[in-house]
């Protein structure tokens, strides 16, 4: 009963944020015009309306939903897998790797598609590197090894980004690198989504289908093995899926912090730690949160506030309140 009520409220909130996002924006679009653009077959007298709706606003809303849901799913998976509530999707260094790739591409003056490809490759490479090194470490706890190696390689990438920033032209490339690292959806196009969406779905599918097994990973490895679970294989599947998802979102939207960390916590207070319900709920709440913050980002002032800043501004205090309440963290 409680669950169905939650689902009802969340669905309603998602619909409301979508409605808000569709109607809010710099370019004035009335409900009638939106209605006409969607349902009427004849072309509008002003071709700009169609560009605003189909090529700018709608892709951006889609991207916000996709990125919010993806980051939250990845965050939920990682938190469950690493049995650690402070873990976020970039724990294995995927964001740092993507940041390094993107910064290098910007330094080389490459076009957007290459920046995105470099970011994606950088993110994936770092996680592969982390996993390979973890295989060679002799620590007893494989989970702790992964986290520590992730932090180390992430720091290394951070140093690489700083080095690139030092060499970048302070008038041209440096601001672009800074903006990219702050994250945002202001430059999303349909093409970006067309490339990222299938890859994100490929990553989401195993997470979603195997979500009940995520619960087993929260048990100590010995216990999980005792009930017949191949812990290593399961962990690898989750890492590959969550990494693919995160690398895709980072390559189209830059580094957007806090969503993947905070949303699973919010949802855990609603459903408990069972991933069967937690994962879908996290995805929905993540989508709502990002859609809402992005609507703020593009509606306030003529110049946009980077999305990463708004999510942190909203996420950090919320997280602190949760910590102070110490409920089911």
């Amino acid at each position: 009963m409680m669950m169905s009520k939650t689902i009802g409220v969340v669905s309603l909130l998602l619909l409301m944020s979508m409605f808000l996002a569709l109607t809010a924006g710099k370019y004035p679009l009335s409900l009638g015009q939106i209605n006409e653009l969607i349902f009427s077959s004849h072309l509008s007298s002003d071709p700009r309306l169609s560009i605003v709706f189909w090529q700018i606003r709608l892709p951006r809303i889609l991207a916000a939903i996709l990125v919010g849901a993806s980051l939250s799913a990845a965050g939920t998976a990682y938190q469950g897998m690493f049995r650690n509530p402070l873990v976020s999707p970039d724990i294995l260094g995927v964001s740092a790797g993507a940041g390094l790739g993107a910064s290098a591409a910007i330094l080389l003056g490459l076009p957007m598609l290459f920046i995105q490809a470099f970011a994606f490759t950088g993110g994936i490479t770092v996680v592969v590197l982390v996993c390979v090194i973890a295989k060679f470490t002799r620590r007893q706890d494989p989970v702790l090894s992964l986290v520590l190696i992730g932090i180390a390689i992430g720091t290394l990438c951070g140093a690489g980004i700083s080095l690139i920033k030092v060499f970048a032209d302070p008038y041209i490339e440096l601001p672009s690198i800074t903006f990219w690292l702050l994250g945002g959806l202001n430059s999303i196009t349909l093409d970006d989504i067309a490339i990222a969406m299938p890859l994100i779905f490929i990553g989401l599918l195993p997470l979603f289908l195997l979500r009940w097994r995520m619960n087993l990973l929260s048990l100590p490895d010995d216990e999980a093995k005792a009930i017949g679970v191949n812990v290593t294989r399961l962990r690898i599947i989750f890492i590959i899926s969550a990494t693919l998802i995160t690398a895709c979102t980072v390559s189209i939207a830059g580094i957007i912090g806090w969503v993947g960390l905070v949303v699973p916590h919010i949802c855990r207070t609603l459903t408990g730690a069972n991933n069967q319900q937690l994962l879908p709920l996290s995805m929905a709440v993540g989508a709502i949160l990002l859609l809402f913050t992005d609507t703020i980002a593009r509606s306030v002032g003529t110049v946009e506030l980077p999305l990463g800043i708004i999510t942190a501004l909203i996420g950090a205090p919320f997280f602190l309140i949760l910590l102070m309440r110490r409920e089911r963290l």
């Binding site: 370019y27 700018i56 041209i172 945002g184």
Partner: protein, 343 residues
């Protein structure tokens, strides 16, 4: 202007006696240079170090033979626009607080008689200059780098470096470019609106009042990206741009320019439809920005010529004269065509 006169003006200013002086006259007489440490006599200055990109251009114009190298540029050996002697100037690195790429030890090893920096003269930059002088004992000259003050900036730095006679034609040319631009700006009844596109998708921009768009604004063009209290760089959305509908879009990077021409979202912008997307690529100095030095004078002239047929007729001669005076390089007719051709 001699030092005594400048001191007198400063003293008067501090007493509040200059409030009645028109602001333009005040700008002409105001000191744009801020010395730290005891400046050597002009004839003793043989080795000059540039602290940053805008100073590179200023010093290249004034004292190419005394310039130890560029702080930010490395002109390729086969660059068709610069003479051999300028192509061989090494890139030494910049002095910029903790973002410096030239170490203090390297700086000392270069044994400059003076360090010159141009650009912002806020307390941050002053304290930085002060620290370097205190640490190395090398005098440091900080120069206010506003484009509108270019002529006076050239004269005042030339005064310190003892190259007043050489600087005069440069200052005159700067003055002429600025005056022509101001005159043009007064003839515009309805100012043209521009957007300065940056970044791979063209959605980063210099906001109104920023040094990135100073040249176009001096010409009387109106920057569409305005945000009260902000004068740096910002990100905007395509929706906002469709609403602004600038008359002209300025670009300097090939990737930005190509994206704007080919991306379907940008086709909703009138300026794109009417092919009013100007692409002024770096050579390696930027025309309107990057760096925000006196190189922008040339960009200002080029932009002016784009809108004013009278200026267009003389643009090639003006550009060639500018290269001769400021870059000490002869620009052949053929090289000029290469320099300004739109890809």
């Amino acid at each position: 202007m001699d030092t005594k006169k400048r001191l007198l003006l400063k003293a008067l200013a501090s007493c509040g006696l200059l409030t009645a002086v028109p602001s333009t006259l005040w700008a002409m007489n105001q000191s744009l240079v801020f010395p730290f440490g005891k400046l050597p006599a002009a004839n003793k200055i043989q080795r000059v170090l540039s602290a940053g990109a805008p100073a590179d251009i200023l010093l290249l114009a004034l004292v190419p033979e005394k310039l130890l190298g560029f702080s930010a540029f490395e002109i390729p050996r086969n660059n068709p626009w610069f003479s051999q002697s300028i192509q061989t100037l090494p890139k030494l690195g910049r002095l910029s607080g903790r973002a410096s790429t030239l170490s203090i030890e390297q700086l000392l090893a270069l044994k400059p008689d003076i360090i010159i920096d141009s650009g912002s003269v806020t307390d941050t930059f002053r304290s930085q200059a002060e620290r370097i002088t205190a640490l190395t004992g090398i005098p440091y000259l900080l120069v206010s780098g506003k484009l509108s003050d270019s002529a006076e900036q050239i004269r005042q730095v030339a005064d310190v470096l003892g190259v007043v006679a050489r600087a005069e034609p440069l200052a005159n040319m700067a003055e002429k470019i600025l005056t022509d631009a101001r005159t043009f700006s007064l003839t515009q009844r309805k100012p043209l609106q521009f957007y300065a596109a940056r970044g791979a998708k063209g959605l980063e921009t210099g906001l109104a009042g920023s040094l990135h768009t100073e040249a176009a604004e001096l010409l009387g063009l109106e920057n569409v990206a305005k945000q009260a209290g902000r004068h740096g760089l910002g990100q905007v959305s395509m929706e906002q741009l469709l609403l602004w509908q600038p008359d002209v879009v300025l670009t300097q990077d090939e990737s930005t320019y190509q994206h704007i021409l080919t991306n379907s979202q940008w086709q909703g912008i009138n300026a794109v439809q009417q092919r009013q997307v100007l692409h002024y690529p770096r050579f390696p100095f930027g025309w309107l920005d990057a760096p925000p030095g006196i190189n922008r004078l040339l960009g200002l002239r080029r932009l002016h010529a784009h809108f004013d047929p009278k200026m267009q007729a003389g643009l090639q001669a003006d550009t060639q004269a500018f290269f001769e005076l400021f870059f000490h390089s002869t620009l052949s007719d053929e090289s000029y065509q290469q320099l300004v051709k739109q890809p």
